[in-house]
Symmetry: C2
Subunit: 321 residues, 2 copies
């Protein structure tokens, strides 16, 4: 009937996605507390900060302090995000982060211009230098990521064939420098995906790249986050980014373009209920979601934190029966 | 690849589901205003009130006034909900409602006891009288509905074979009275469904009843509302209940068991983007969602009302290109 994976790997992006978007200043100790709590849930990969210009993203000005303050749990990869060489060097400098090189291409010329003031040609030309920078610091290059792979608020629909072309280009550039991308990430940056589009794009990318794993980065701006994740699972996708409590955007605010990653505990419950392993303790994760909500001081969009864990309900029913 | 329907039929339940659960008193004129606005969106079926005990559900004490106050649009079916003969007679008395007889069986003994203080045996025994009541008033009997068809907070998982048995029983009781159920509704009353469970139960019911249409009533309490709707669409389901703005429950309140129907405008956007017709003007519906939020005076969970209509974005891009 379908090709559901037996287990999936979740990259938790809540601390990074969430705290960079919040308008109120969040104490560094609260950020550290959430990361430490998330570390106890079974999550194996937590992206905790971004190294970006503190003038543009004041919420991330304490990135170094957050990294220095956490209590790392063995086996958990803590990572950071950067957008340029300066950010990469800050991440490297912190010493405590798991360093992974990532190549990124935008599927939307308009969004690339808007975000990075670059043309696609300039973007391509910059990749070999980036690879050499990673290589010079012994940072393995594992992932190629396509931003706006399903559509763009500033350009409209994206042709799946163009996404396939970008993935091919990225892999070729990597190969030219002796690197082999193991994971291709597809970003629904502005929430243009539908379940059918997920299937079409994943199918097209996999058809041309049967040897790589595909990862999905889904935003819930139009409510289809979990439906899109399910379509990905049906296609055998086993790598997902997600954000505890749906951190990263408030559905009632107007930043429609960037709001709300798919919620980690909602995704985990759906997977567990369908027999897909995540390695995560859902009850512990739900406590983290409640903690995240307390930290930001306003309701966050995840549902399971109020709707409740079905497995816990089942246990309670067995006990009282 | 799948069996998506070309078009779907949505029964809007927002006014009924929503206003009965709100704690603040909502002026009758606001309820009427929302129903009138919904009537202009292309929706063909709007459930506007329930005829229940005003002592137990004060928010529905003005049911008659709402029915009397609306401006009916030709071609739109306005319906009400009732739980007993008294409620049915009140609905009939109002004269302006489209009357449809519905049989309901609970798939959970515990939930039936809790809600109606009845055993399954008593419930079955009551059906022939109910059918004769409808027949005596020339009300066509179109639908059989299974409550808690996917699981129950008070009893746990429900065996799909039991749902199939209940559907068979309902159809047999109807046939014994000369009636033929055309639609079987499956209610995920307490949000135990997953996309895979939707497929399993819909597949089992359809296997035994290839001649009836299946309708899904989905709650979004655990965030899987749209994912479950998508699984239904994949199975060719073409009838859905939904609530504008996700009226019917607040995700941040603690009524976890009853919270939040799948949001109409989110479902409509997903369908339109996948090429499935709904007959609904999404922009007009989004305005109704904003109106609903104003009426209840707190955020409602639907996403598209802030996330935005992709078709509208596309048009705007074409205009500026």
């Amino acid at each position: 009937m379908n090709d559901l994976p037996k287990e999936i790997h979740i990259k938790e992006e809540g601390p990074r996605e969430g705290f960079q978007i919040e308008s109120a200043a969040i104490p560094t100790s609260h950020k550290i507390g959430l990361v430490n709590a998330l570390s106890q849930t079974g999550l194996k990969h937590i992206q905790i900060v971004s190294f970006v210009n503190p003038k543009r993203v004041p919420g991330m000005a304490d990135a170094e302090a957050v990294v220095a303050g956490i209590t790392p749990v063995p086996g958990v990869h803590y990572t950071g995000l950067w957008l340029n060489q300066q950010g990469f060097l800050r991440a490297l400098e912190s010493k405590r982060l798991h360093m992974e090189g990532k190549l990124t291409l935008y599927a939307s010329r308009a969004f690339l211009k808007r975000n990075q003031n670059r043309t696609p040609e300039e973007q391509l030309a910059a990749q070999p230098d980036l690879i050499r920078l990673y290589q010079a610091h012994d940072v393995p290059i594992t992932t190629g990521f396509v931003t706006a792979a399903f559509g763009c608020n500033f350009e409209g629909d994206v042709d799946p064939a163009y996404v396939v072309e970008l993935v091919g280009t990225m892999r070729r550039i990597a190969a030219d420098q002796g690197e082999d991308l193991k994971i291709i990430g597809l970003g629904d940056t502005m929430a243009w995906a539908t379940p059918e589009k997920i299937k079409r794009v994943v199918g097209a990318v996999r058809g041309a790249n049967p040897d790589v794993a595909i990862s999905l980065h889904l935003h819930d701006t139009r409510g289809m986050g979990l439906a899109n994740a399910y379509a990905g699972l049906e296609m055998g996708v086993a790598h997902f980014d997600a954000a505890v409590a749906g951190l990263g955007g408030c559905p009632f605010a107007k930043h429609a373009g960037a709001a709300g990653n798919v919620c980690t505990e909602d995704l985990v419950l759906m997977c567990h209920e369908m027999g897909i392993e995540t390695g995560i303790d859902l009850d512990a994760l739900i406590e983290c979601a409640a903690m995240a909500e307390q930290i930001v001081g306003h309701p966050l969009p995840g549902k399971v934190k109020t709707g409740g864990n079905l497995a816990a309900l089942r246990s309670a029913l067995r006990t009282t029966a």
